[in-house]
Symmetry: C2
Subunit: 223 residues, 2 copies
DNA sequence: AATATTTATTAGGCGAACCTAACTTATTAT
DNA sequence: ATAATAAGTTAGGTTCGCCTAATAAATATT
């Protein structure tokens, strides 16, 4: 019943899942996956052949790659493990936002159902990781995405910066000039009707930012 | 500076360390190691060749296997990681005494110095694992062995059973008849001068056991 | 000392996962 | 429609860790 996959097989499934979800047609190409995994297209081809025979990927020769529901289930559980571990590292072991990923990448391959079940309850059934990304439950359901952009935060509420959209140098310069970094706490004082701009309270300082700016900053609401 | 070893190389070092320590001459044979790792002598030979070239094992062709101090250091750090993880699983994730090993066997191969440093402080710098075995510190020092046999426990002190010596059926039957199992708490009420026998308080019941019996039960002192 | 036995090593192969180079099929542009 | 480009596949080769079978060295026995 319980299929045992190698670390590599798992990595392929996870990457494939990510790509297929992003390309919202649920498909991906060989080269795309190769690029993502820093591996040659030939290697991908071989692995896909194997995953196909294990009924985790469905696709015909020369056709686009698509995952079976079983393949997706496995990938989602890997995401779950990854994000639970990130949460643990962040909350209990004093890892910073940007350090968690690398270690979680290793931890997610540990094989033990009990481990992940217990880790989950130890963490109090969290529904999002330190980056604000949602943690799917045991059955694979992502509740609601708890990662929001700054523009979605209501007046009077506070939030913590978890990431910024990869954007122009100008944007990043502006970000740092405002004193915004990862973990920065921001209180949204006002929404202004006229131009949808926002007044933010960052530390002791008030700043006025445009809607466009706010949409490029990702935050996690304070609970 | 920091040598990166494969999971297999690490497993060989750990097993070799265990064997060489047990054979208190600090040496081991190829076949012995092969037996321990459930692998053919030929495989061991190949790996030893590699470890030798990495200066982790010192031994000449056809000679007994011996570890270099660097090899030992690495092995001890693996033991440290293993036991810290066991402690974590046991104390925080509700794993039982006999479930921890298998998962710790996987977790000990995670590469991250910070992880183990933080895990250690999270656990409060423990000096022994749930089996009562000592946890070496960052520099590789085993403080004192905190695993004791029941006969070493002073009058009036309490302890918890962590293991029993592999022994005769008769002994094991006696153990279970007294209501002793893993995790059982035992209070040592008296040492009797006459025959060195002990009076134990197990739960509500008092029992009289011989010195020989007490020496075959391993316990961890209550802190 | 000569032989037998145990222990260590080499030789030759297999599977997983990687690579490069060459090829085929599909798509796009002229 | 045909040629050029992009995308997917195959072939042949590498490394790592494993195997079995055959050999060489060390140790034990007569």
């Amino acid at each position: 019943m319980d299929i045992v996959l190698s670390k590599n097989e798992e990595d392929y499934l996870k990457a494939l899942f990510q790509i297929t979800v992003e390309s919202n047609m649920g498909v991906a190409g060989t080269n795309q996956l190769a690029l993502n995994l820093c591996v040659s297209p030939a290697s991908v081809n071989g692995m896909i052949k194997k995953l196909r025979s294990k009924k985790l990927v469905k696709s015909e020769r020369y056709g686009k790659l698509e995952m079976t529901s079983q393949g997706k289930t496995i990938a989602i559980q890997l995401v779950r493990k990854h994000r639970l571990w990130e949460t643990f590292l962040y909350q209990y072991l004093d890892f910073s936002w940007d350090e968690v990923h690398e270690v979680a990448e290793q931890l997610e391959h540990i094989k033990s159902d009990k481990l992940i079940k217990q880790l989950n309850s130890f963490l109090g059934n969290p529904d999002s990781d330190p980056h604000g990304d949602p943690i799917p439950d045991e059955t694979g359901n992502f509740s609601k995405k708890s990662k929001k952009n700054l523009a979605q935060i209501e007046e009077g509420k506070s939030c913590t910066v978890v990431s910024v959209k990869d954007a122009s140098v100008a944007f990043l310069q502006m970000v740092s000039k405002l004193g915004i970094g990862l973990q920065t706490e921001i209180m949204v004082k006002n929404h202004h009707e006229f131009d949808a701009s926002r007044t933010l309270l960052i530390g002791e300082q008030e700043h006025q930012v445009s809607l466009k700016f706010a949409e490029n900053v990702f935050v996690k609401e304070r609970v």
